[in-house]
Assembly symmetry: D2
Homo-oligomer: 345 residues x 4
């Protein structure tokens, strides 16, 4: 009953097997090998266009390097006030970009409020020397709170960014979970909406430690590789990070794994409702559930071995907000066990 | 016959097997798991003292983060003019440290000349506001040219650094190759000589992509973890980078692998001499050979499928300096084949 | 009728005269001269304790360097969302600190809301590796909106910062305007309230281009001078920036100049009320007035030669917020002329 | 008898007078005023083409900001190993550029050796991801050792830089001293030789604290103003730094001041030779003399009140290298007094 984070899960067998498959003697280093070439080609296939793909070792690196390619050191990055890049990466975007400024924006359920974005963009006009200059919009899909932007919601935000002359970054650490059930192709969920660069996560969804930065206009990558290198994210044995993605994309493994996670989240949410704990705080669009539970329920669950994260905000009305995350590895008995504890109370 | 680089080799079977061993369901993320704890403990055992160990994904990250922990943004880093940190990391130390300055020093065979170090330290006196301030000494063991500092050589350099109030970093991307045959324990080869922090490499010697930063005085690590995080080098599934080191250190695997590489280099060097190409440019103390070969010999070798690196300096007397690197994976037929081509000329 | 900014004013005659007074042949460079020593001593006298004082050439440099001395590159800076350091310095604090993150906070009239500060501090707990770490609180006195924190208001904010282990920076670009009429001594208005470092402005109040960074605990200055030097803010002819402060502090010139500015602002505010435009948006505690005026009034004023800044927020109810700033140089006929236009409408 | 540095001199009366001339009431802030416009126009006139000019407060700022506009954060800056940007600015170029790497080059008399530059450029080839990338060439005119590059010498160096795709920066802290007696116009001494951006100093030659960054192709300035702002080098009362340059350039004041300094240096050098101390270490092309003097001579000079800088290198043959700098303010009796001491020994 470990619902702490999808980060706590292991590696999918298919991905582990891929390492052995590519481990045959010498290969060109630093991404000049055949496996890396195949994985990059697979990414272009997936997105139905020629893309520029770079493999790095963590989501913070993917986001930071992607944003550094888009934003000058005195630029702004408009993001949700709960975005991973703002709250959970120890100021990585500021580091990679050389000092850019994240402008945190409010919005229900982890989605940026369009009105707030519009006002914020206006506050930092282009060309005024005193003001940090327009940099980029960064949206998180699925969001920190497990919600998924609709295409229309994204279009509205992206239109504002583009009107301000800014490119758009999507933090897709849980892109797989966002795609599943959306009815959209990867292309429709990204560049066809105006996204310029995607941090495409594999780690949370069965990878070992590999994230792809995907530029939909290859020339926008600019000097990415030099920034990647000086950050220690160009890997000598590049075939192994690449092999993770090759396996991840092959035969839709990434979607299969994410479907499982999302379905388990759905079962858990349904069970919570049935057990009388009402609707979660936000729609369960992906693999995360936020729900406010009474203290005694939390205690009982913990006592029975359930693990999850208490959200660091003050309790209200005797209830504490908790986060439950499912993964590709969440087993049905874990869900059942959790729900049984609830029923037993 | 691939002598391009030890970076081109694959992953040792023992290390690959370790992934499967630790891939059982959920585990605490970000290094709070049992595998990481065991690997850190193994490092303390190896060095016969309590050390602070951090696992990162590349040598550039290890070096850059280690140096950033030691040196202020306006500090100096004294290093050999051919050191990896100066020439081959796309200015990573400058990035991680926020602008520190590498002072490149001459010295035969990739080893810093003590007299040059002494003069350079004097040039940047502590407390003079105009001058970059004393930061750290960085030595590479084994060096870029495959030589290994003797303890006495290191003691002399380190004494100069310490007299200048500076800590000492050792770039040990090939620490295993330097230890093998030195007759020294890891402790004797590092902190007992005055080294404060070691970039301890596994990748070039059978790892997949894992390097350890080892602080011999744990408190010198300071705020390392925050710098590591904001550089995207704290990994959610931390048990896997750690498992590489656990396997690497277990039963002396790291030394066994390096012994093989060094022996193959020795055989190759001996064969070159027997074939009439004289002594290499520098002593073959580890797994690298630098030798100046006639153009026609180079052509013949390449024609037969040999791969190696032509050193980017102008040819002299009709000969081009080349670098031959062996690895844990170099097979004897590769050496034999190479030498046979030489004999056939 | 120039109410654009106190930055548009010239230099006070006493300060201009000081240049000639100290311009006698050679003097030690880089602040080792007698004038600099006297100006630093005058600062210690003013604050009734031994302080460490550094003279720089702009407010952005003073703020950025002061904050860089307090905050690690992955640290937080809690500030008002309209603070100069957040909005008007082109990301200077991020630059000087190497990537620190400003956490913008709401609060009426440019003063940080204590509840918002408390929540924000809680959001970034010390020791959690994912989170930017507690850095500093920065308060602006007088604020961007011309209000002045009461001692009690500051005490509440500072207590929260100190409870979180954070030092406190005060942006005193208009410190003189804040002191005048407060009934407080400089000491009472700064370190006695818990302020650790003050950006003490002279430029807006009769200086030519000189700001002092004052550390009330000299050892907190740490490596300030090296950061100052590498930012190009250690001046060879240091006696001239110092002479500005010597003249500024002598015989209370700084307070005399600010009194004049504040009195003119008071007259202007009274005149606006008398003319039927009601109370300004926020109390006129210093030398700035924010008032929403009808479009036709604005047009009439501009036509008659009045200059002022339209605040970049959308108009409401046919009125546009404008900012009127007085300075040490504002002449009474300018106020009279402005008010006459109002009366004539 | 102060020969410590031209930095120790005061401000030329014409420049001091200019402050009063422009100190009339309010003026547009941040360089949008008439004085700034006039000073910028004067610079275009001087260089016989439309240039982009920015006024900053120190030579370190001028150099650092100029280089940051030319060089990426992972770029190289090729400079003399004794260049001010390498040795005397506390790593300012690294700070302003976000981590660029200075490649120090040897060369007699402070002038870069062309062969060394050629080899160094070859060492860091464009497009190789591991290597810091070609950034810029920086030449110092007059050099740190008081020599002046001939046009031919500069042409050779600049041709190498341009062949490597690099722009050229000239550190002209003593540009005036280099021009005087060269028979060249400012245009001939800069852009006509291929210089792209010039740090044009006034401070050492009668200014108070104003240096101009001059881009000969205005579009190369790029985002200079934003970098300037976030470094705290955009000044609210911009007319005063600009006024220094207006006065400096007016009626050839800058050349008149530098002529005086150079002539005094010439007299001093001649006197040293006459007194039997031989030729200085390097040609006295500007206002600096480097000469090795016996210890007893140094002691006698110091006893009589002479001030100068002992160069921080070990003495040889009982002689210590000293530096003697003259300025626009050096009076003939100072020279005479110095030479009299020599004669009296």
């Amino acid at each position: 009953m470990d619902f702490t984070s999808d980060n706590a899960s292991g590696v999918a067998p298919e991905i582990l097997a891929a390492f052995a498959d590519v481990n045959h003697g010498a290969a060109a280093a630093y991404g000049d090998d055949e496996v890396s070439a195949r994985a990059r080609a697979a990414m272009s296939d997936l997105f139905e266009r020629e893309v520029a793909t770079f493999f790095v070792a963590s989501g913070s690196a993917a986001n930071g390097l992607a944003l550094a390619a888009l934003v000058p050191p005195y630029g702004t990055i408009f993001a949700h006030e709960e975005a991973h890049i703002h709250v959970d990466e120890c100021a990585a975007p500021e580091f990679f970009s050389g000092g850019a400024k994240i402008i945190p924006l409010p919005g229900a359920g982890g989605k940026i409020d369009a009105g707030a974005l519009e006002l914020a963009i206006r506050k930092f006009p282009r060309g005024v020397v005193h003001r940090p200059q327009p940099g980029a919009l960064s949206v998180t899909q699925a969001s920190e709170f497990g919600t998924v932007y609709t295409p229309k919601e994204l279009e509205e935000l992206i239109a504002l960014a583009k009107a301000g002359g800014m490119p758009v970054h999507m933090d897709g650490a849980r892109f797989a979970n966002a795609i599943v059930g959306s009815g959209l192709t990867p292309a429709e969920a990204s560049w066809k909406l105006g996204v310029d660069v995607l941090s495409f996560g594999a780690t949370k969804n069965g990878g070992m430690g590999s994230e792809a930065v995907v530029f939909f206009e290859p020339e926008m990558a600019g000097d990415f590789q030099f920034r990647q290198k000086r950050a220690g994210h160009v890997f000598s044995k590049g075939r192994f990070p690449a092999a993770q993605f090759e396996a991840y994309l092959k035969d839709g493994l990434w979607l299969k794994l994410a479907s499982h996670a999302n379905e388990q989240a759905r079962r858990l949410a349904d069970g919570l409702k049935t057990a009388g704990y009402g609707d979660p705080s936000w729609p369960v669009d992906a693999n995360e559930i936020f729900v406010a539970l009474p203290f005694d329920v939390i205690d009982a669950l913990v006592k029975k071995g359930a693990q999850f994260h208490k959200w660091p905000i003050p309790p209200e009305n005797g209830r504490q907000l908790v986060r439950l995350v499912t993964s590709f590895q969440t087993r049905s008995p874990e869900i059942d066990g959790f729900l049984e504890v609830l029923k037993s109370l």
